[in-house]
Each structure stands twice: as C-alpha cells, then as structure tokens.
C-alpha cells in the first residue's frame, strides 16, 4: 500500500525520532499529531454528511489526538454550544461507526465556532485568536489545517483573509495546510487561475487536493495487484490486452446538485478527475518507489502520453437521461430536475476513447464512460484480452467463449474478477466463459474506512501520495478541454432511458471499433 514505504514527507523531525514509534511496529496506529482543523463551509451538505462524520469516526477509531480542535467558520450567529449541537446532530445521523456519547465528549472539548463572512477582517482576527487559544489550552501545537469546503469563487476572499491575518504562516516546527475539494477548475485556464490563488498563500506541498475517490482501498489495491504480483505484469500490455474499459456508473440522478452540475456535466465532474486517475493507475509504469513524488512522476508521464482520437465525433459519446420507470421507480427527465433549465445541453453521460502513445499501450484503446441514471451503481476497470491466436477446437465447441478479462471492481463489492474459458461438465467438448471472484470481506467495523476518513487522516499526518498535484490536474484538463470544446460546438447530448447503459451513440462508438461495452 502506498502509506507503508516512506515516512510522511511533511512529518516533523521530532515526530520521526519518537522512540515509541518503531517502524517495525506495524500494530501501532498512526495517530495524527497535535493539530486542529478550521472548516469553511461547515454548514454545507458535504460537511454535514461526510466531513464532520469522518472526523467523528476518526476520533472513534482513536486516530485523532485527544487535543484535536475543530473550528467552524460561518455566517450563522452561533455560540460554541450551538455549533456543538449541530455537529452532534450531523454525526449522530451520518457517522459510520455509530454514535457514542463518550466519543462525542472527547470531540466536544475542541469545538469552536467563529461567526463572520468571508470579507469580514474582524472575524478572521477572531479566528486567529481562537486558533491561538486552542494552541495554549489544548496543545494543538500551532498545527492547523484549513478545509475550504466552499465554492471555488469564494477561494480568493478566504485565502486573502488567511494571508492578511497571518494564519497561513507556520511558526517554527509547526505546519499550516490548505485542503481543497474538486472541482479544481472547470477547464485548464480556470484550474490555473484557481491554483495561482491558492499557491500564492500556501506552499504547493501544503495544498491537499481531496479527491475522495483516491481514498478507496481498491484504488490502492490496483497498485498492489499490479506491482506485488508476477502473474499480471507480463500480460499487462499491448501484446495481450485488446482494450480497456473504465466505467463509473451511478443509478441515481443529479439529486440536489443542480446548481453545480448544470453547465459542468459528467465529463468535467468525474472523467477529468476520477476516471483519468483510474486510467493513470492502470496504465502507468512501475514507480521506482511508492514515494509521493515517484508515484506522481509515473502518473504524469502516462497522462502526458494520452492521445485524443482525430475524429472526436466518432469516438466520443454524450447523453442525457429522459424520464420514465427505472427499476420500479418513476424518475424525472434531466431537463425537468429542480433547477435545470429546460433547454440545458449539459450531458449526464459521457464516453470517450483515449489512446496512450507508449510502447506498452500503443494500439490498445482505453474506453471511458461515466453517467447518471445508468443500469446500476458500479465502478470498475476491465482489461479485455485478445483472443487466443489459435483454438484447437471445432468452432462450435468455442461458440460461447468470449475474451478473457481481468476486472478490478472498485465499488461496490470491491474485489477482482477474472473471466476465462472452461469446459462445460458432461459435454463432449464445449468451452464457455466462467468467472472467478475474489472479494475481501469489507463490512468489518475496523476496516473499510470511508474515503474521507483516510484522506483527512493522511492530510493531518502530512502523507501526500493519495493527493493529486496541480500538474496532474492541468494534464487532465489538457486531455478533456478539446473534447468539451468539440461537444459545445458540434455534439448535443443524445437522450437515453434511465436505468440503461447510456445512449445508442455510446454503443455505436464501440461498434465502430468492432467491440462492445461490457455489461458490468
């Protein structure tokens, strides 16, 4: 796994010298050092449903220091107690590990709330005082993370205020970190602009971009599967692989995200970050170590080797769901969702073919698809292999034999499936596709930590491998920008029925290459 081979890059020198932390002592939980987190946008959906519960769950698992402080910043005229009630409500509804009064009491001691707007300098002065008070009374040691769970257009204000109040500047031996959520811009230009704003105030190594997808165990498992085994790597190339399909399907609609989603669409929402990251992990060369910089180097290399199809019309597809019955439930068309203009041309389904110009992958198309209101909720990476060059059977014997495949199931039901041909028992000679499954039981309380828990903990520990850097973000936009530009000019989303695998154009797109989408 990525967190094992190297000491956290950002860890303080004395932390590494702690004689109680023997690197061979693999039982000892990595508990975050003394620190606090200041959260902007604490009343938002994400904070309420994911971030606050993740912090509570980390506390429950004993992975946050007893001194941990959590400061909410917002417009509401709340006292610390009001804020505590809000946090209690949020975690009792959404925590993964179950609500316990005792755990909450531990968290409660470090809860603070600062009332103010983003352009209110006095409020930031108050914030500076509160953070200083935490350092003095709780022992948070001057280590503070600023979680910007706010729309990107509010970044400049908040960051400027942080800079003016000096909150971005660590004292000796302590750290200040900024956490930002996707989207990291909506195209290359805006991503650069956003980054300029952030990196003016925080050093690049102190900026943590949260992509909760990369917290998933199985994404790390891709690294283990590929690089810890001898079995797969020899066939992990154009000599054996026919093509690769990466799918991220959701069976739900856009829900309450209309305000954000419309005008952004599936490609920018998930392909730019999640699917391209999965592609990079699948296609990259072996990193020389699992150090963050080495891992990033390989991901950046493979992203920069991606080539777009010449005819974007023939090798991409775009769709929008219509209304109807989906799996026993009547659902609204995208154009009638709350807050969506009736003439919206935002896509809810996107598919594209990408090629990788490297010796390993030349001639092996990577097909990416993602969408809302598809057949089921699933994320997977399927490597579909070439057929055996010669089959010493009668052709009728192998009529049911498809192509071998290795499928990495990212979610749900994380695991690996291998599809291969086997003789049907009792028949004279008939070969048919069968599948072999592996799944680690993941429903144990200590395990399967929510992605946000892992990411927040890694951020507090200063362990960066799972966090994308600006260069990767920019490379992804370079891949996506020409496609979204082309779509804006030439390609309207094709309608598709909810609960299906996207519009016909997606199927035609693969048919043109003589292939079909796998049914996940």
């Amino acid at each position: 796994m990525t967190d094992t081979s190297t000491p956290p890059a950002g860890a303080d020198a004395e932390e590494l010298l702690n004689p109680l932390r023997d690197p061979r002592d693999r039982r000892l939980p990595l508990i975050a050092g003394p620190s606090s987190m200041v959260m902007f946008g604490v009343t938002g959906d994400l904070a309420r449903k994911k971030l606050l519960p993740a912090i509570y769950d980390l506390t429950h698992r004993g992975l946050l220091p007893p001194s941990f402080g959590l400061v909410g910043f917002g417009r509401r005229d709340w006292s610390d107690d009001d804020f505590a009630d809000y946090v209690r409500k949020s975690v009792s509804e959404h925590s993964r590990t179950g609500f316990s009064e005792s755990v909450f009491e531990q968290l409660r001691g470090g809860l603070r709330f600062v009332t103010g707007t983003f352009d209110d300098s006095a409020a930031f002065e108050k914030l500076t005082e509160v953070v200083g008070e935490l350092d003095r009374t709780r022992g948070t040691g001057g280590n503070h993370a600023f979680y910007l769970s706010i729309p990107p257009d509010a970044f400049p204000k908040v960051l400027t205020q942080l800079a003016n109040s000096g909150l971005n500047t660590p004292r000796d031996g302590s750290w200040r970190r900024a956490v930002i959520e996707k989207p990291f811009g909506h195209d290359l230009a805006s991503a650069r602009e956003l980054n300029d704003v952030v990196e003016k105030v925080f050093r690049p190594e102190d900026v943590f971009r949260i992509d909760h997808y990369l917290g998933k165990e199985t994404v790390q498992n891709i690294l283990a599967l590929r690089f810890a085994n001898q079995l797969y790597e020899p066939v992990w190339n154009a000599g054996y692989v026919d093509h690769v399909q990466i799918t991220m399907a959701e069976d739900i609609g856009i829900g309450s995200r209309a305000g954000y989603y419309d005008g952004i669409g599936t490609a920018r929402d998930v392909i730019q970050n999640h699917l391209l990251q999965l592609l990079a992990l699948t296609a990259m060369e072996e990193p020389v170590s699992f150090r963050a910089s080495d891992l990033r180097a390989e991901k950046e290399k493979v992203l920069s080797a991606i080539e777009l199809p010449e005819d974007l019309g023939a090798h991409t597809a775009r769709g929008q769901y219509v209304g109807g019955w989906q799996g026993g439930e009547e659902v609204r068309p995208y154009l009638e969702e709350d807050g969506i203009p009736a003439d919206s041309t935002t896509e809810t389904f996107a598919a594209m073919r990408l090629d990788i110009a490297t010796r390993r992958w030349a001639g092996v198309p990577f097909y990416l698809r993602a969408g809302k209101r598809l057949g089921r909720r699933v994320t997977e990476i399927a490597l579909v292999f070439k057929r055996a060059p010669f089959l010493p059977f009668r052709s009728t014997d192998t009529a049911d034999l498809g192509q071998n495949a290795i499928v990495i199931r990212v979610q749900p039901d994380e695991g690996v499936t291998i599809r291969f041909g086997s003789k049907v028992p009792g028949t004279q000679m008939e070969v048919r596709d069968v599948t072999m499954d592996f799944a680690y039981g993941m429903n144990f309380t200590e395990e399967s930590p929510e992605a946000y828990e892992r990411l927040i903990l890694d951020m507090l520990l200063g362990d960066p491998p799972l966090f994308p850097r600006q260069k990767e973000v920019e490379l992804s936009w370079k891949i996506l920008d020409p496609i979204t530009d082309y779509w804006a000019q030439n390609l309207k989303p094709a309608p598709y029925r909810p609960g299906t695998w996207g519009p016909d154009t997606a199927h035609e797109m693969l048919a043109r290459d003589g292939r079909t989408w796998r049914r996940p």
Partner: protein, 571 residues
C-alpha cells in the same frame, strides 16, 4: 447450516464439505487463511470472535476440542457453513483418546491449500507454541496469557519458548493504549521523559508488557505502580505517566470507555475515548499481519530475564542423598523397591503415575527387578505410564534401543499384569516414518499433551513421579553429553541429539526442564570406571561440563551406587 458427523475421519469430513458446497451452492469468496482454535474450555466465545473476524479475513476455522484422556478413541465433527459461520466455514473436531497422538494428520486434510495457518489457544497456552504439534505448522501462533491460570508465569514460559511468529492477546490489548502513549509523547515541546510509571496490577500480563515496552523503547526503567482505592478495580493497564522536565503527562483510565489525558500546565484534563477491546477486535488485529511481530518479541524478551544457566532448573531442590550398596544387583533391587513404593504412594494420591526408565547395565537390571517390586508394593499397573529419558534413533529391533533391552523383562510382564499398550510411551524409531528431528518433536509433543506442558516449565511443579537415569563415565545423563551443543536446547521437551560422542550417533533425549520435572530422581550407577564422574556430579550443579550434577527431584534425589562407583566420594 450445521451438519454433524459421528465416528468419522478427516477424509470423510473433507468429502462432506465438498458435497455441501456442491449441494448448497458455492460460497465464492476466497478464503485467505486457516485458523485453528485449540479449545480447552467453552468453544462458543472464541468461535464467535472467529466468525466476526472472518468478515475481515475470510477463513476456514478448525476447532480442535480434544479429550486426550478418553478411554475410547474416536472423532466426531460438526461442520458449519453459511449463516452459522459468518464469512468463513467452521469445522469442530471432537477428538478423543489416541487420535491425539497424530493431531497433525487430523487437520492436514482440512487445511486450505497453500494458505497461511494461524493457531490460536484461547486458554491454556503451550510453553513454546512453535514446539506444539500444530503450532509448528503455523505461520502465526496466538496465545492469551491473561486467560491462563498464572498469567505472569505463563508469559514467562512464553518468553522462554518464544519464536518468531508468536504473539499474545495481552499485547494486542495494548495497541490503542500504545498508540495513545506514543502520541502523548509527541506533545510539544518534545523531551525525553526522565521517569515513567505504569499503573496496574503487576500480576496483569498487559501491564508487564506495557512497562517492558516503555522501558525497552525509552531506555528509562518504567516502574509498575499498584493503583489504589477505587481504581484498583480496573483491570489491565490503569494509567501511564511520562514525567518530563516541564511536568507530567498523565493518562488515566476513568471508565471502561474513557481515559483522561492531563498535560503539563493543564489540570483540566482531556477526555479520550478508548473502550476496552473485544475479543473480536483483538483477533481481527492479529490476523491482519501474519509476519513476525518483532517488536513483541523484543518487548517480551526484555520483560523478563532469561535463563542462561540451565542449572537453574535443578537448583533450589532438596540435596541428593547416597545409597551405597555392595554390587550392581543390589543397586538394581534397592532402586526398584524404592521406585515401587514411591509409585504406590503416587497412585494413592493421583489417578495416574509416570515412571521414566533408562537403559544401560544397571538400568536394565533395575527394570528386570521392577515387575516383582511393583507387584509387592501393590501398584495398579493399569494406571502406570512408562516413558524413556532417552533413546537411540536406530532400527526398532536393534539391541541398542533401551526399549528393546527392557521389553521382555519389564514391558511384557507389566502388560500381562494389566497395563494397556497405550500407557507405554515408546520413543519413535526410523521405522515410524519420521526423521530424527520429527521424532524428537513428536515425543516432546506427546509429553506436552500428557503433561499439559506447564509442569515441565514451572518451578515447583513436577510431572513424572519417578525418573531413573544412568550416568556415563563422562558424566552424561539421558543423552545430554558434557560440553555438547545439543544439551543447550531447552525450548522443546525432547531434543534430537546428533554427533553423540558415544555411538550410536543419533539419539533423542529429554531436555533439562523436563528431566527436572520429577518428584523423585534415581541415579543408578555401578562400576569403578564411573567413580570419577560420580564424584564430579556430587559437586556444584554445573550442567555444561557435568550433566549428571544437574538433575534433581522435587521431593528427593537419590544416588544408588555400588561400592566401586562410590569409591571416589570423599566421605
């Protein structure tokens, strides 16, 4: 679902499991390990923990529920799959009687191919898990000192028998505590503590390990302080204090769920949730990593001092006495009569008595005299067990074998007098299909099964009632030779001896702790050529140059000597 098989075999169980899988549909989740649970008491609690842990680590669970003392030998089994087994599958093996002699072959057919094996003793830890018949097959051996009678004594025995891959739940119970202490250490400004205290009962193995861990890592002696008042009710580690220049960092358990952390200059105390860990959590943690826990090994080693001097096993017992008799025949007769009366006394108190016999001229003569002496003393031979102190690893019928030397004179008459064949614990020969090492391990395991292994490694306890030994002219006893490296092996109950100075070269011998686990020791010596060795062995206990000086009985040690052998004694 649950299926029960009575009077069955491992192969029938294996077949049944495949049948169940075919009939009721495959559970396609891959199993990652085989977990063997050695049950001595209630099996449901450990099983529940195993089922719960199987959600994280899909496992095949084999529960060995053994009754070695049973009259009838036999095997019943219960197979649980599906809802009754969590994400795993469970086989409960109820083994009776002589099946225990080959416990390894009982589980062999039921192990998952290639997958790692973990053996867990929820109670009754073996002294040296690696030398246990199942432990030796396992990558990971889990004990629970706290669940044994005499937890600290158990931990000490585990320390002596430690091998990479061992671990103990007393250590896993500390994981969250240790994490918390490690992060408390990092409270700024970080300075090394000049004094460390662990509060808790010194009789608690987790407390001992916590203190050892802190001393070992910090290089400061951690002092164990008994908690007082109400606090004394709290089991396990009650608190840890790191005393630094700038003040004291104090962690104290205030309830089953919580700890209060007090920092220098802050008296208010921070509340930290730390519930006691359930057995499920402990087991799941143990199964997470199957490589050796080196830190545990080092901490355990530093928790207690080791025994470097094997003379320790013999020390602190009554001094040896001499019986000097005219000749070898008189020595044999006296030794036989003494042994017979000691065995009769033993059987009056206990259900079984254990006699260790020996070879050699006097040993064989004594064996010849025994049947009559035992009959005269009224010993119930059906309740008597015969063991050997050492044996030559040669052909079963070879006259070099100690067993062959007493077969006609002792074993046959005793069997005629009602001793069941299974009471005669013959050391294996090459004809039994084992290598020398395997044979030694097997014999040691038979002793451990019969004796529960604890008496062999606990001072003041004994397993054998009478142990007879000859003494060589070089002063060797059993097959422990002077200045021979194999006498240094004390981890197992029996050791393979190679390159013996006296032919044949390959032998199996009981080890120091086991030879010193008898109530009465009889050293049988005749002949002038041994006089020097006898005299040397009457000096200080010193096993390396003079092995014969280092075996003592808990109640008595008697030298049965003829006048020649006693000739150099200064008296």
């Amino acid at each position: 679902m649950i299926t029960t098989l009575t009077d069955t075999t491992a192969s029938a169980i294996d077949k049944k499991m495949i049948e169940m899988r075919e009939t009721f549909g495959a559970n396609t989740i891959g199993r990652v390990l085989t977990l063997i649970i050695i049950a001595t008491g209630d099996i449901e609690e450990p099983l529940e923990a195993a089922v719960s842990a199987s959600h994280e680590h899909p496992a095949r669970v084999l529960v060995v529920d053994a009754e070695p003392g049973a009259e009838e030998s036999g095997l019943d089994a219960e197979i649980r799959v599906g809802r009754d087994a969590g994400a795993g599958e469970i086989v409960i093996l109820r083994a009776r009687g002589e099946i225990m002699a080959s416990l390894d072959t009982l589980v062999m057919a039921l192990l998952l191919p290639d997958a790692p094996i973990v053996t867990w003793w929820p109670e009754s830890a073996p002294s040296s898990p690696i030398h246990d018949v199942l432990g030796s097959m396992s990558q990971r051996r889990i004990t629970d000192a706290a669940a044994c009678s005499g937890p600290i004594a158990t931990l000490k025995r585990l320390r002596r028998g430690y091998s990479n891959g061992d671990s103990d739940l007393a250590w896993s119970r500390l994981t969250r505590w240790r994490g918390l202490v490690a992060s408390a250490y990092e409270v700024p400004p970080v300075t090394a503590p000049k004094q460390v205290q662990v509060s808790g009962s010194a009789e608690n193995p987790s407390v001992a390990l916590m203190a050892a861990w802190l001393s070992h890592s910090l290089g400061v002696d951690a002092e164990i302080v008994e908690p007082t008042g109400e606090a004394s009710d709290i089991a396990g580690v009650h608190g840890v204090r790191l005393i630094r220049e700038d003040g004291t960092i104090d962690l104290t358990r205030v309830s089953d769920d919580a700890i209060v952390l007090t920092l220098p200059g802050d008296d208010s105390g921070q509340h930290v949730t730390m519930p006691r860990r359930s057995l499920n959590e402990l087991l799941a943690e143990e199964l997470r990593r199957l490589d050796p826990d080196e830190v545990y090994g080092e901490v355990l080693a530093s928790a207690f001092s080791g025994i470097d001097d094997f003379g320790t096993y013999a020390s602190g017992k009554p001094v040896a006495t001499d019986q000097v008799l005219p000749d070898a025949d008189a020595v044999a007769l006296a030794a036989a009569e003494t042994a017979a009366s000691q065995l009769a006394a033993a059987l009056a108190q206990r259900s079984a008595a254990h006699l260790v016999v020996t070879g050699g001229t006097v040993g064989t003569k004594t064996a010849q005299a025994l049947p009559e002496a035992l009959a005269a003393a009224g010993v119930d031979t059906a309740r008597l067990h015969i063991w050997w102190g050492d044996e030559r690893f040669v052909d079963r019928e070879s006259s070099d074998r100690n067993e062959v030397g007493v077969r006609a004179s002792l074993l046959e008459p005793l069997q005629e007098a009602g001793m069941p064949a299974r009471n005669i614990h013959v050391v294996p020969s090459p004809a039994d299909g084992m290598s020398l090492d395997e044979a030694a391990a097997w014999y040691g395991q038979q002793l451990d099964i019969a004796g529960g292994d604890e008496p062999f490694r606990t001072r003041g306890r004994a397993f054998f009632d009478v142990l007879m030994l000859g003494v060589g002219p070089d002063g060797h006893v059993a097959s422990l030779f002077p200045e021979h490296r194999d006498q240094r092996q004390v981890g197992a109950s029996a050791v393979a001896v190679t390159n013996s100075p006296k032919p044949p070269a390959e032998r199996i011998s009981l080890t120091w702790p086991v030879l010193n686990s008898a109530r009465h020791v009889a050293l049988l010596v005749a002949g002038a050529e041994k006089a020097e060795a006898v005299a040397a062995a009457h000096g200080d206990i010193d096993p390396w140059p003079v092995p014969a000086s280092a075996v003592r009985g808990l109640e008595s040690t008697t030298w049965f000597l003829d006048t020649d052998a006693a000739s150099q004694l200064s008296r």
